[in-house]
């Protein structure tokens, strides 16, 4: 790529030099023509700027001299003379020479030096460049300073943005988030400068922030966050605590001292209020001396530093903190019991509400709260960091790459991310398949990589992170990427896709999950037989997760798995059709909208709903399940996001959110499509848990077959 850009630069500079020559000759006729002078300056400027980008340092530094002179002409500090034009024309020739000089060979600088000396003679005395200024200016960039301080420090930052910060395209929140990235931060927004409504300019920023940040990065790292705004914004950064401090006291300054230190309160006022012998912060607010937000911010600082200091002092003891080894079955039993408990508790709530006895209701609510806490704690015990499996994969990568003659490194992140133990176990096989595929098909042989301008050593990244109630697992390689056209051709050949179908890249990539799909020309011992990716997909869907592929030809493939945190208990939406209850996993539900008789009439039997302008296809579950009871006047569509597509499921009533304890349906019903399990409701009835993904697939297949016949 770089060679292409260099070639473009040579061509472009050649054109600019030709234009420069014409301009200079015209300038000889009309030496006062500002337009021409500007054109000369701009040509020099572009030659210099782009030259520096592409490694033509000699051109950049030489052109800088000529540009400086023309900058003065442009600003009226010099006039165009015959001598100047002579020298500039010579400069043009010299740049042309430098431009065409073979790369890597020493160039003849003497002509250039002579021209520069001549140009400098022309400069007015006062403007003579200082020594060293002929160099191209050094890069000036918000590079994050790497000098980690040995100690963790706590900083007090007050960030008062300029009112026009948003109008200049900066989002102050993203700066605060950047600060959060540096360590542990607590942020308090200050609202006391927000003007009355009629004076408020909605585009202006009237809020400022107090941030207490504990980080091992130095002050420079904090300042770098504000690099683009430091001139216009008021930024105060003060060191308030450091682990290097010798006094290892646990406490921290009094509230009043913090406020005085910050300049939010005067010492005189502090003394006055202290005499009143009440809680200091409340008094300050009551008397209107300091705004509640400022007091809160100071309290946050107090708490933050106290806890940082406490942690520091407790750290050595913590290492001794004990953990107990418990057999996994005992934990499973606990989870089962908690599941039963949640069910019984739901029944209890229902009965108590129906009874209407207020004492009974309050007891039942207390039980509900405790059950929820118990459930969370119990599920949490079964959580394990995913990192233990990561190390296994490092070994896999090492062995396989050796076998295939490739050099591959594996990097992991988020090893501390926690997931349910059973989920981690079930993730193992899918991950092995994906990583094998990356190594075998993704990463190229070292010599192929080098000729493509990449490092000979391939990389596979494996990472995990939390996202809502799911964990995202990413497997990324920097290999060849998926061959979109080959996959498409294969999909057409296999009849999975119409030859002229217009589909997105993502849809094409998802074809690799079709059973027996492989574009590999040869089968290796590692992969290529076309078994694998469909197994992966089934495995992930068995975990109620989803899978996504993204790929850039030449630079690699990313596969993302989205896995729910736990398999035992899920949040779901309880719905009713006729007399039957059904449960839809809440994670995929986006919203519920009404479907009236009139809507149905207007859609002319096409099962399409108009949701705020977007057309969403829907599935009448009532028909699908053959429920014939009385149809309500208004039905409800539950809109779900299934692998990126919006689909509606029509039900009679939406009952509400429900804690669902998943019960398996047993062997008899294992092959029933569209139902992933069942749950017992508060009143003892059974509700089926719908698997919206397979439900959609089954219905699509049925439609296709009816159309086909």
């Amino acid at each position: 790529m770089m060679e292409e850009a260099v070639a473009t630069y040579r061509e472009e500079a050649g054109e600019l030099l030709a234009e420069l020559e014409t301009s200079l000759l015209e300038l000889e006729e009309t030496p006062d023509d500002n337009d021409l002078i500007n054109r000369v300056f701009r040509a020099m400027h572009t030659i210099k700027g782009s030259g520096a980008m592409f490694g033509f340092d000699e051109i950049a530094s030489f052109t800088h001299e000529v540009e400086t002179v023309f900058d003065m002409v442009r600003n009226g500090k010099m006039t165009v003379t015959k001598r100047l034009l002579d020298l500039t024309l010579k400069s043009r020739d010299h740049i042309s020479y430098l431009l065409n000089a073979p790369v890597g060979e020493d160039v003849d600088r003497s002509a250039g030096d002579e021209i520069i000396a001549g140009l400098r003679q022309l400069l007015p005395q006062a403007e003579l460049p200082q020594k060293g200024s002929s160099e191209v200016p050094a890069i000036h960039l918000p590079e994050i300073s790497q000098d980690e301080l040995p100690n963790e420090c706590t900083w007090r930052i007050r960030f008062r943005p300029a009112p026009n910060i948003i109008m200049c395209g900066t989002n102050p929140i993203s700066l605060i988030n950047e600060l959060r990235g540096l360590g542990t931060a607590q942020v308090v927004a200050q609202f006391d400068e927000i003007p009355p409504l009629d004076e408020l300019v909605p585009e202006s920023c009237h809020i400022y922030w107090d941030i207490i940040l504990t980080t091992s990065r130095g002050e420079d790292a904090i300042r770098d966050v504000f690099i683009f705004v430091e001139d216009d914004c008021d930024i105060k950064i003060e060191l308030i605590d450091s682990s290097g401090l010798i006094d290892r006291e646990e406490g921290y300054k009094k509230l009043g001292d913090i406020l005085v230190e910050r300049g939010d309160l005067s010492p005189v006022e502090m003394k006055k209020v202290l005499l009143l012998q009440k809680r200091f912060g409340e008094l300050l607010v009551e008397k209107g001396i300091v705004s509640p937000e400022k007091v809160q911010s100071a309290l946050v600082e107090q708490q933050h530093v106290k806890s940082v200091r406490k942690e520091r002092n407790e750290a050595p003891q913590q290492e001794a903190a004990a953990s107990i080894r418990v057999p996994a079955e005992k934990l499973d039993q606990l989870i089962n019991l908690v599941g039963e408990m949640v069910t019984v508790q739901a029944h209890l709530s229902q009965v108590s509400l129906a009874g209407g006895d207020s004492v009974f209701i309050s007891i039942s609510e207390e039980v509900e709260r405790l059950t929820n806490e118990l459930r969370d704690t119990a599920l949490n015990i079964r959580m394990l960091p995913i990192g233990s499996t990561f190390s296994k994969f490092k070994r896999l990568v090492r062995d396989l790459s050796g076998e295939l003659g490739k050099e591959i490194e594996m990097e992991t992140f988020g090893a501390e991310t926690e997931l349910d133990k059973t989920v981690i176990e079930k993730l193992n096989d899918p991950l092995v398949h994906i990583i094998r595929n990356s190594i075998d098909h993704g990463i190229e042989m070292p010599d192929v990589r080098r000729s493509a301008g990449k490092s000979g050593i391939g990389k596979v990244y494996l990472g995990a992170e939390h996202s809502g109630d799911s964990v995202l697992i990413t497997i990324r390689d920097d290999g060849a990427g998926l061959d979109r056209d080959a996959i498409r051709a294969k999909a057409v050949e296999r009849g999975l896709l119409q030859a002229n179908a217009e589909v997105s890249d993502r849809e094409i990539y998802s074809m690799i999950f079709a059973p027996g799909f492989s574009t590999a020309a040869k089968v290796t011992s590692v992969s290529g037989r076309g078994v694998g990716m469909d197994v992966v997909k089934r495995g992930i869907e068995g975990l109620r997760g989803s899978i996504g592929v993204d790929s850039v030809r030449g630079s690699g493939t990313t596969i993302t798995l989205k896995i729910p945190l736990t398999l035992a208990i899920i949040d779901s939406l309880l719905v009713k059709i006729g007399k039957d209850h059904f449960v839809l996993p809440l994670a995929s539900v986006e919203e519920c909208v009404e479907l009236t008789r009139e809507d149905i009439k207007n859609s002319h039997g096409r099962n399409l709903a108009n949701v705020r302008g977007a057309i969403v296809p829907y599935i009448p579950l009532r028909q699908h399940f053959g429920i014939t009871e009385q149809l309500p006047e208004i039905e409800q569509i539950v809109i779900a996001d299934i692998h990126g597509t919006k689909v509606g499921f029509v039900v009679d009533h939406v009952v509400g959110e429900h804690q669902t304890v998943i019960k398996s349906l047993g062997k008899m019903y294992r092959d029933v499509k569209g139902v992933s399990g069942a749950t017992i409701l508060g009143d003892g009835t059974v509700a089926l848990i719908l698997d919206m993904g397979t439900l959609l697939q089954t219905i699509e297949l049925m439609e296709l077959s009816t159309k086909g016949s």
Partner: protein
């Protein structure tokens, strides 16, 4: 959705390099050859960010920044200026016109991406 970034530069080689770097990092790119061209395109095309050279024919970077901020569709987008001047006059002029940040030429692709990630938040 990949973010859409406009690069405005009269130098084809710089545009090429910037566009390549951005695309490789998963951004979508539209190019403009000078300030006027950029402003025309931005009148109808919503973008997530603008990268502009300062010295351009027809309309320079400062004029472009002012034009974008005075417009409607892309009024609040982050704007990063590419400048060769490390002196503060041009930078200040750009900031006053409404630029969000800057990057000084010559820069490495990684530096460009670091700045873009920073201002896109």
């Amino acid at each position: 959705m990949a973010k859409l970034i406009m690069t405005a530069d009269d130098s084809a080689s710089v545009r090429q390099m910037v566009a390549f770097t951005l695309k490789q990092n998963g951004y979508d790119v539209i190019e403009a050859v000078d300030g006027r061209d950029a402003l025309n395109k931005l009148a109808t095309q919503k973008v997530d960010m603008l990268l502009t050279d300062l010295n351009m024919p027809n309309m320079d970077g400062i004029g472009l920044i002012k034009g974008v901020r005075a417009g409607t569709l892309n009024k609040f987008i982050p704007i990063v200026m590419l400048t060769t001047e490390s002196n503060d006059t041009k930078k200040g002029e750009g900031k006053a016109a409404g630029a969000t940040g800057w990057i000084v030429k010559p820069f490495k692709p990684e530096q460009l991406i670091a700045v873009i990630k920073k201002v896109l938040g």
